[in-house]
Amino acid sequence: MKKLVYDIINKLDIPEVTYADVRFTNTDDQVIYFEKGKLRHFGSDYDSIDLGVRVLVNGCWGFAGTTIFNNTSIEKTIKKAISNAKVGSKFRKEPATFKKLKPIKDSYFFKPKEDPFLMDDKFKIDFHEKIAQKLVGNKKIVYSYVYTVLYRQYKVYANTEGTFVDSMVYDTMPMMYVLASDGKETMCRTWPGHMNGRRGGFEVVRNVKMEENADKIIEEAIKLLDAPRIEEERADIIIGGGHLALQLHESAGHATEADRIYGKEISYAGKTFIKPAMLGNFKYGSEIVNIFSDSTNEGGMGFHLVDDEGTPGANVDIVKNGILLDQQTSQETAALLGVQPSSNMLASFADDIPLIRMTNFCLAPGKGSLDNLIKSTENGYYIDFTKTWSIDDNRNNFQFTTEIGWKIENGKIKHIVKEPTYYGITPEFWGACNGICGQEEWEFHGTFHCGKGEPGQAIHLSHGVAPARFKNIVCNVKA
């Protein structure tokens, strides 16, 4: 397919096309899903091939994508991309412009420790069946499931500036869930939580130790039925890594996507409270808050050599010592903001347009262990495992519920609480951060399901975080 991409990009090297890029993806995935102890779904989607052609003509973008790989279809796709741009330019007042980048020619092939696509299917089924069986049997557990999504994607990217890169990555997403009921109410627990995607092969499934944690989540789900709720109006909260990844994702990650500043995503994903004039001076958080976008770290699902418009992978400070410095940008929005593009333009598949997406969006570690952070907390709650998430159109007001929380008194864990629900305003919340654990607690969490754009795309991304503490947070919201 490299030749096909090469041939198409050469065809687009014509005077009427200011810029063009061509992408090809071949995606394999496999899903193993047990429900209530029984295999409910086992399936694969192999050799799922897509082609996308993006052109800039008369200052307007045109795009066409297809899954049909015959000559007629490919020619039609090229012509459609150009005509979409040409006709569209009649209703485009400000032409899209950006600087030319230095061409890159390179390849990247991730090697998983255990390639799940070379493993015996029976082994993978048996592995999950054993876990599924552990989740059933207790009368109070009325529903359970365990699943893993295995994924790999080969991509070829080329543009008219001379960049030509191909890559192969592997991502894996394992999860188990139990629902307990006492006939009156229901409470759930998951493992390893909703930020469960990781770069890697089947080793990811082994590393999250689902079988070893099955009894623990069953016990916690049942205990939650009789657990108290948070009574205080406000409290200090320590947020565990799995849930903090989502807190960072929603209230800092999406908020600092520059396309939102210019209204390109108002229609569906929304806007942001951030304005260009805030860069370099806005207090986004306390002095210990350092947030960066790093597509150069191979440990996360956001690693790449170049993004989907040819910008080389980069590590960019978004918030430094609490001050907002930069945005996640495309070439076009970087030019509007007067900053360097941050290498955040990505599409899920080749027949999707690239959008500004988080890659490895991280909170820098502070100091000390989680144990020490709890010990230094007089009164508060340690909460983790996302249950509900919601944030407003401008990424300012958020509210989260976690599956479980633990009361802390005088530096010690006392008892569990059910459905801890807290809300906050983004800069005030990050401004209340008064403790972040150190490198020893810092790890990547991630998801396959970050949704954005129209037509919608779900992308794989990672968040590096360590547990952190936030002071005096409203944590008693009830329906």
Partner: protein, 441 residues
Amino acid sequence: MEFRNELVKICEQYPEFKFNFHHRNWETDFLRFYQSQINYNISKTSVSLSTTMYKGKKSYSFSLKNPAKAKLLEKIEEVKMIIDKLPEDPDFIDLEDDLTKSKEKEKINNIEKVSLDKKIDILQKITEAIEPFDFKIYGTFICNYRTLYIINSNGLNKREICSPIFLEVKAVSNKNEVTVLEAYGGENFNTFDVERFTKDLAAKVEAATGEIVDVEPGEYEVVLAPRCIGDYLMYLESSMTARSLDTKQSFFEGKVGQKIFPENITLTDDPEHPDLINFDYNHDGHIYKKLPIIEKGVFKNFMVDNYYGRKLKMKKNGAEGSGLVMETGNKTREELIGSIKRGLYISSLHYMNFINRKETSVTGLTRDGTFLIENGKLTKAVNNLRFTEKISDVINGITDIENQSYTIPSSSNYGEFEIYSAKMPHVKVKGFKISSSTRTV
């Protein structure tokens, strides 16, 4: 057509297996606009085949893009090597066996009917109408054309064509980003009245040009716009399925025949309603016909598909909530607003998520135009607000319903961007719980 026949032959060729095929041809012309200009014009085409292959109670599923007979046969041979090794699903009884066919109407391809030039003309007209208010337009203008063949080893051989149009325009103030929304959805573009659409949007823009205020958390009397009550009912719909009974997350468990909502609440699922985007079959290929869900406050029916119908021994009905219609009341919109001394008008909801599905507790936000009602009139725009509520409480709080309803389009957004619609009126709700302000519009 040729490939459809091949799929039927494959069902006959391998009698030791049962097959369930979904063969889709899908295309979209998808215009994205922002700041009253084009952002992207996107065209996509896709041909795919989703297959589930059964041997007794064992099954394996796979998808193929751009499928061809040779590739499919190769895959079937691979599955033959795997399937015996898999554990059974003892709850699987059989594939769909409802052979009832709809009229399988031909439909105009709206991608061809509503050209890019025509879309641009419409957007220019809308832009000109709101420019004097210092607003710009943002949104999407989409036409899809999808042909789906559902074929299985029980003799199903059905076709459904869908060609929805979806126009969503947000008008955003250049001054303070206050936003209002107007949308159109349907399959018959002759029902689109650009003059009326523009007039309705401009009226909303005019109402949003004044002062923006904040309100305190608390309980309010509110008028919910049709798309809001539609959103609540669509969320609640996940509790109305047989699957939700099986997963123990249904609010309606044990409530069939019980009066659970006020007498003025009647809800049907009507996939043939002339004002809605129509569907012939559910995902199994079962005929999809009108079904009462709630009648005068009494919960009447769960939506039951093939797998869970057989598993739970419930009668299959093919309903899947893609055409919800709420019965109208006897008040005008003006009367609903006019009867409120101090309250809120909520145009649209955003980022709603369940806290506890069985209890129907959710949190979410208002968006695209929240207004203060004072002495029966919309007086000021209000910052977007957060609510934390039980949907059952919202419905139980409905005191009055508008005497007309509106087609509300929505989309699944992901994958093949399926477009649905519902028919909903404005409703007045008492005791609506606002839990915090976003301090932004």
